[in-house]
């Protein structure tokens, strides 16, 4: 079930390097500027509203449209992308011979080569600046706006790609904007394991990172487990705080923990279920060798956990600069 066993790294430096590579495409023009093959025209509008069952007369009846204060018939806003469609011939040609080279094609190929072969459109947000009138001739520019970190979804693990499409008229005035998001995913992540995809740790609750605890979360992001240590009396303390409860000193430094410990107690949670966690969810309270205690995730089989179990730190990326400790069963390793 662990996402770290797949051929591509789910997390860690390799995953970050791959994401950095993907993100070099951000800001690039996705595909060449596309020009409408036809001006906005009554025939296509009529076909569209008949198919949609939309009987609003402002789309078909010149008199009715004028009576609403418009200069004439307008196009239904949802037709936006249809004015810029490449057409059947170009579509089948691309399917047969591959899409013409473009930054978008290169980005999709990069993902495809890494096993993210599935594709599904997930979001389509459209913003209309003005209504389209008969005779408008549109032009569309698409820019790659974002590539998400790897997410594990119900379809499989993958990356979301967002493009911003800007539609302009003959005077280069913006008439509409469209944010179009697709998921490029690897369907085998779920199918080969026969189990539902692991929950996305990116959805988990985040720590409150504040002045008094930031050093600890900064270290954790670098996969270093540290313990706050009083610089005057030497007492270790966790969770951290601004002053030493033993001697009152505000001076402190970090001590690196070996990352080994034993389970002091544990919980296996079933209900309620929060997004980002797999249930039954086992959470550990670990006595570190250094003497402090901390709560952490458990990467092992819930059946194997017991009070006194020797464990060793591992890490889990929550995405967005958060990495937190999880512990693995030390008995299973030896």
């Amino acid at each position: 079930m662990s996402a770290t066993t797949q051929q591509r790294p789910a997390a860690g430096p390799d995953a970050e390097e791959f994401l950095t590579q993907l993100r070099t495409f951000v800001g690039q023009q996705a595909t060449p500027v596309r020009y409408a093959q036809d001006a906005v025209n009554p025939a296509m509008i009529r076909h569209f509203v008949e198919a949609m069952g939309d009987e609003n007369p402002v789309y078909t009846d010149e008199t009715a449209a004028r009576s609403t204060g418009r200069s004439g018939i307008v196009a239904p806003p949802p037709m936006l992308s249809s004015w810029l469609m490449v057409g059947y011939k170009a579509h089948t040609a691309a399917a047969e011979h591959g899409a013409p080279d473009s930054p978008m094609t290169r980005l999709l190929n990069l993902l495809g080569d890494a096993g993210y072969v599935g594709v599904v459109a997930t979001n389509d947000e459209q913003e209309y600046v003005r209504e389209l009138r008969i005779g408008d001739r549109l032009k569309m520019t698409a820019v790659i706006e974002d590539v998400s970190p790897r997410k594990v979804t119900g379809l499989g693990a993958g990356h979301f790609i967002t493009t911003l499409r800007t539609y302009t008229d003959a005077d280069d005035q913006v008439v509409a904007r469209q944010r179009f998001r697709i998921l490029r995913f690897d369907p085998t992540v779920t199918k080969s394991s026969g189990q539902p995809a692991a929950a996305d740790p990116g959805l988990r609750h985040r720590p409150f990172v504040m002045r008094d605890n930031q050093f600890w979360f900064d270290a954790a992001r670098e996969r270093r487990l540290v313990i706050q240590t009083c610089s005057d009396c030497g007492q270790l303390r966790h969770p951290p705080g601004p002053s030493c409860p033993q001697c009152g000193s505000f001076a402190w430094h970090e001590t690196a923990a070996a990352g080994r410990g034993t389970v002091h107690s544990y919980v296996t949670s079933h209900h309620p279920k929060a997004p980002g966690y797999d249930y039954p969810l086992t959470v550990l309270l670990v006595d570190l060798e250094e003497g402090t205690r901390l709560v952490a995730d458990y990467s092992g089989d819930p059946e194997t956990v017991r009070v006194g179990l020797p464990v060793e730190v591992d890490w889990l990326d929550y995405g967005g600069d958060v990495t937190l400790p999880r512990f693995r069963n030390r008995e299973e390793q030896s």
Binding site: V267, S269, P272
Partner: protein
């Protein structure tokens, strides 16, 4: 050093509540007003007599809204106690201190909410808990790993206690079975007429192992209020006084809210022991003089801890103390005679204070014989509070 100044100075002269339901169908403010009004009627007083109000910081109905809605003309004293159910007994202590010092004459402690039909506490951090403050910082060390609810957080202690003393899920289950047995005979209880067997407890689904569903108290819509006056004035009022013989708050070493995981011994609850120490010192009484108890039962395992911290039995012996029938009506310490929060209602422990008063009056639906002193406790796992209520001497 604990002073006995407060002992016997104040009394609870009236109690009142709404019905306990899962969907009250009315505002939380209305529930508060109904409860306060019922308590005043019970005490033979009117809103015009009230000059103090105390409640929880978590209460959504502020003193001014209750006062203006009820026509309470002036308030000279108002205070609030934090830490949720840990504050169950503390507003009573606040009121007792106010009347004992002459700051106020008639103080009403109240708590009202639509906790089942409105914002539920068992669903994870409430919407307000999103600020990066030291109040919320403790969540950084538990929430990201999925310890989000009180049940999940309590289960960590329950598991360690089982490991330390060989307690079992059945031992926890007996607390729930006892509560439901008492609730089954209490017409005001949600589980009136609905006892629970140990087998049903064992078969109930896991919430957070080792806690089953029936180790967790229910959720409730309702309101509860208590009227506190001086012990002297209480003598002139219609109900038999429940004298406040002792009242204490406790916050222990290395204290967190529900997740004090960093103490050496997780089977000990030092803030509860701190309350016990103060109650015994204020009252001159000991566990042997308690004739009944209302022990806060949000989660069954914490009832075992409380029996040990108050000295009713030795460390690790609570499971046997319970199994031997000591908490039954004819036992050594009849406990949660109203059905507890598990069986009657979850009113953040305030309905338990009201049951303490009924036990002193001799009017509990499960009234044991010869009750002179009752221990009432508040939420465990957080900074807490406790009372000893007594018959007038």
């Amino acid at each position: 050093m604990t002073s006995d100044f407060l002992s016997g100075k104040a009394a609870i002269a009236g109690i009142g509540a709404t019905e306990f339901s899962k969907d009250s169908g009315r505002s939380e403010l209305q529930l508060a007003i109904e409860a306060v009004g019922a308590a005043l009627t019970d005490a033979g007083l009117t809103p015009a007599d009230v000059d103090g109000l105390t409640t929880f910081t978590m209460e959504t109905n502020p003193e001014n809204m209750v006062a203006r809605s009820m026509g309470i003309p002036e308030l000279k004293f108002f205070s609030r106690i934090p830490y949720g159910g840990g504050g169950a007994c503390a507003p009573i202590q606040q009121a007792a201190m106010a009347v004992a010092t002459g700051v106020a004459d008639v103080v009403v402690a109240y708590r009202a909410f639509n906790e089942r039909s409105g914002v539920r506490f068992g669903q994870g951090p409430p919407p307000a808990k999103t600020q990066a403050t030291s109040d919320n910082e403790y969540r950084s060390w538990v929430n990201p790993y999925g310890l989000l609810t009180p049940a999940q957080q309590t289960a960590m202690f329950a598991r360690r206690y089982m490991h330390a003393y060989g307690a079992t899920s059945e031992d926890y289950g007996r607390v729930a079975v006892l509560a439901r047995k008492h609730a089954a005979k209490n017409p005001h209880a949600w589980f009136y007429g609905k006892p629970l067997t140990l087998a049903e407890h064992q078969a109930s689904r896991w919430i957070a192992e080792p806690l089953h569903l029936f180790d967790c108290c229910q959720e409730t819509d309702g309101g509860q209020a208590m009227v506190i006056v001086s012990a002297e004035r209480a003598r002139d009022l219609p109900q038999p006084a429940a004298v406040i013989t002792a009242a204490a708050q406790g916050l222990g070493p290395d204290q967190y809210q529900m997740v004090s995981y960093y103490r050496d011994d997780l089977t000990r609850i030092p803030e509860v022991e701190l309350c016990a120490r103060q109650l015994w010192a204020q009252s001159g009484l000991g566990p042997g003089e308690m004739d009944a108890a209302v022990l806060y039962d949000h989660f069954t395992p914490y009832v075992l801890n409380q029996l040990e911290e108050y000295g009713f039995c030795g460390r690790g012996e609570a499971k046997d103390f319970i199994a031997d029938g000591n908490l039954e009506l004819d036992g050594r310490l009849p406990t949660n005679t109203h059905g507890g929060q598990i069986g009657e209602a979850y009113l953040h422990g305030t309905n338990g204070v009201a049951e303490g008063v009924r036990l002193i009056r001799g009017t509990s639906t499960n009234q044991p014989k010869g009750v002179s002193n009752v221990l009432v406790t508040a939420g465990v796992g957080v900074p807490t509070s406790a009372l000893i209520l007594s018959t007038a001497r």
